[in-house]
């Protein structure tokens, strides 16, 4: 399944993709990416630099956002540009939600521009690990 450019409108939202961040996933990400920073594996180290426990890699969260976009687009190759700011940390066992809204559609290039984000809820407040992020998706 892939989306067709002609079916889209500015303001359309892509389906939200959720996942619970587990310690073993973050360890697997450290091994797969090669980023072995102890901030993502060692609670004592994380506490020594001011966090209550380990945090997920920013790139782990960005990868989840990219999956939300490519799942919606139906084609991993469609994602031509993604730019994010990491604005809040993600702790273990938190549920991250990735989504986005179409902000522009260029009929000449058949590219969609999206405002994309990752959110989570912590102690009744909404945190935004990724906000003000932009994705460009090439559609057919």
């Amino acid at each position: 399944m892939s989306v067709a450019f002609d079916d889209l409108e500015v303001g359309d939202e892509i389906p939200v993709l959720s996942k619970v961040v587990k310690r073993e996933d973050v360890k697997a990400y450290a091994d797969a990416s090669g980023d072995q920073n102890p901030l993502h594996q060692d609670d004592n180290f994380a506490r020594s630099v001011g966090f209550p426990g380990i945090i997920a890699h920013g790139m782990f969260t960005m990868a989840h956002l990219a999956s939300a976009i490519t799942t919606w687009a139906g084609d991993p190759a469609a994602l031509k540009r993604i730019q994010v700011q990491f604005r809040a940390v993600v702790y273990m066992d938190e549920t991250i939600e990735a989504g986005g809204t179409i902000t522009a559609l260029d009929p000449t290039t058949r590219r969609a521009t999206l405002d994309v984000w990752v959110r989570l809820e912590r102690a009744g407040e909404v945190e935004q690990p990724i906000k003000n992020a932009v994705a460009e998706v090439q559609l057919s």
Binding site: K19, Y29, D35, M59, H64, S67, T70, P76
Partner: protein
Amino acid sequence: MTLNTALVGKEYDEVPFEVERERIVQFADAIGDPDPRYRSEEPIAPPTFPTVMQIATGGQVVLDPELGLDYSRVVHGEQEYVAERPLRAGDKLTATPRIAEIYAKGPNEFLVTETIIRDENGDVVITGRSTLISRGTAS
């Protein structure tokens, strides 16, 4: 400032990197994306897979003794990828990192690195732009 702003514009050595199928599958499993195109006989790589290359090739930047970066103070601030095409198993690539910007804002310093990933023909495949925040090292 503790970071050496004289290094803005410095280009580092090009580093070879071959994309292996096993690394793609391992990465797709780790990010929990079930897309079968990441697990075929000749898979493409997920959009953020170039981070594997950036980590494998970025050491010469963050560990550059002339730069003065204390890696224990670093958090990842921003990331951008521009893709001409997805990476694929069997790609023989090079990554060339360059320091694009160094600046201070409030108590923190910002190191912006641009990494250009090229294929065997020298064509640009991916451009990565990464901002690392060095916490509390300004002034």
